[in-house]
Symmetry: C2
Subunit: 293 residues, 2 copies
């Protein structure tokens, strides 16, 4: 069993990006610039945005954090998005989700210029990813693909079972794994809460990508010997053994599953760090204006 070290790979990629940014600066150009809009004071959102700002520093990017109280109106947010769309000093920006209930997340996402949509949530980027055109691929699926690539894991013709059908992970990663590409060219099965045959599907899978958000859902008896297991789950489970009072817990019961695997990602330290680094890569792509001509 080999552990897939997402943290180490993410560090390498950040260094690669930093080298490229240094080259850009040495040519007299400004560095890539990411803006993030954060509404309210949700603990998880605060942490994620802080990590993103820190990653920008590590990559040599400029970053701008725009904060609103959770009383902000949809109109105010849309006005700010329009301003960022037209600001040539900003290459890409994100609106940290979730948003307060009085604001339509979908409306906000669709207001973002798809050429600055480094989260890859705009329907144009979702559609282009599915068609196989250049696009901002959303960060978690892009991070998973990068891990498979960096570890040289074979995917062509393999049976890949995706657990979960969220717009942010399950659907896009399934769409990527069936593309004519590497990683890709897999036989892909998407399972979810309605699937009658979820356990049997997992038992035959060469690759399992677990993105249900159900802690320790995938047990040892659900995984065949030699399988590759990618754990996307990051549920905060209350814990008395940590300072924060919770423990990030994956969808995979690691201790049971790991001994059977050829490769497995831990939680934390697996897919998580790759998600932020994929956002950095999308921001670099946005700055270079290479995707959309």
């Amino acid at each position: 069993m080999q552990l897939i070290d997402g943290k180490a790979i993410a560090d390498i990629i950040k260094q690669e990006i930093a080298v490229e940014v240094a080259t850009i600066k040495s040519m007299g150009q400004r560095p890539p610039h990411l803006a993030a809009i954060l509404v309210g004071h949700d603990g998880g959102s605060e942490t994620y945005v802080a990590h993103k700002v820190k990653a920008c520093e590590q990559c040599g990017f400029d970053s701008t954090l725009i904060r609103y109280e959770d009383t902000v109106t949809e109109t105010e947010l849309l006005a700010k998005i329009s301003e960022l769309n037209n600001d040539t000093a900003i290459d890409g920006f994100i609106v940290q989700l979730p948003l307060p209930k009085h604001i339509s997340e979908q409306k906000i996402i669709e207001a973002i210029d798809y050429r600055k949509d480094v989260d890859g949530f705009h329907p144009i980027n979702v559609g282009r990813t599915s068609i196989g055109l250049p696009a901002f691929v959303s960060a978690t699926p892009a991070g998973i693909m990068e891990l498979l690539k960096r570890y040289g894991i074979a995917t062509a013709g393999k049976h890949c079972v995706v657990l979960g059908r969220s717009n942010i992970v399950g659907k896009p990663v399934a769409n990527l794994m069936i593309q004519k590409a590497y990683p890709g060219n897999a036989t892909v099965t998407v399972c979810h809460s309605y699937s009658a045959d979820l356990v049997e599907q997992c038992q035959k899978a060469d690759i399992i990508i677990a993105a249900l958000g159900q802690p320790n859902f995938v047990k040892g008896n659900m995984v065949k010997d030699g399988a590759v297991v990618i754990d996307v789950g990051t549920t905060r489970v209350p814990s008395t053994t940590t300072k924060s009072g919770f423990k990030l817990t994956g969808d995979v019961l690691f201790d049971e599953v790991a001994p059977k695997c050829s490769y497995i990602t831990p939680v934390p330290g697996g897919v998580g760090p790759m998600t932020i680094v994929s956002l950095m890569r999308n921001t670099l792509l946005a700055a270079k204006k290479e995707l959309f001509k």
Copy 2:
């Protein structure tokens, strides 16, 4: 075994649409108006467009056929598309594919205003379909979903195997079958030329949607008893027994497979007629401006 009569269902839907159009006219409004651009003289394209024009008549729509020789330039086509985008008398329009090699199909598709893209090929409509938002769903996948619905075929929790991963059928029908909806909520497996386990996947499938474009590919031994089989294939195979000199042949070896099925679509007369009727429905939706507000 019950035959799924796509022709009969398509006729019923055309009547339903005609009734709605009559109501629209009785309120003093103009009928829905579809335009089609046809480039060159490809036999298949001529036939498809003629069928679409005829279906418009049956539904009470206005239709406009715009013909170009295959020497037309991309610039000329793009100018016509821009004109149609801005023409308030046209509700929706299609550009019949394939196009001559000197014209980029993708560029043409993306030039169409997504609110008039009744073929559902624009990345915005592809992305919105995947996310589960209101969208123009491309005609063949929409027709398949409608057949499943009209025959009351259970899909929730069933294992649906999609053969083929084209942008026009395989990918979108897979994306529809995993949505939280009826038809949908299926466990969906997408198989293709790289799939090592294609035969085994089919043998366990409750529903097979065959869209490979390989005549008679699905044999009797690949289908379990009681399966639902949807045959999307329409390859023109040379034949001495027909006046036209060819025979439309599906991806399913009908005589072997049909006796094992609970439901099966024939070729011709299955999915084909539903494809055109889905285009009519999209045109009606475009005229009513209900999808995008």
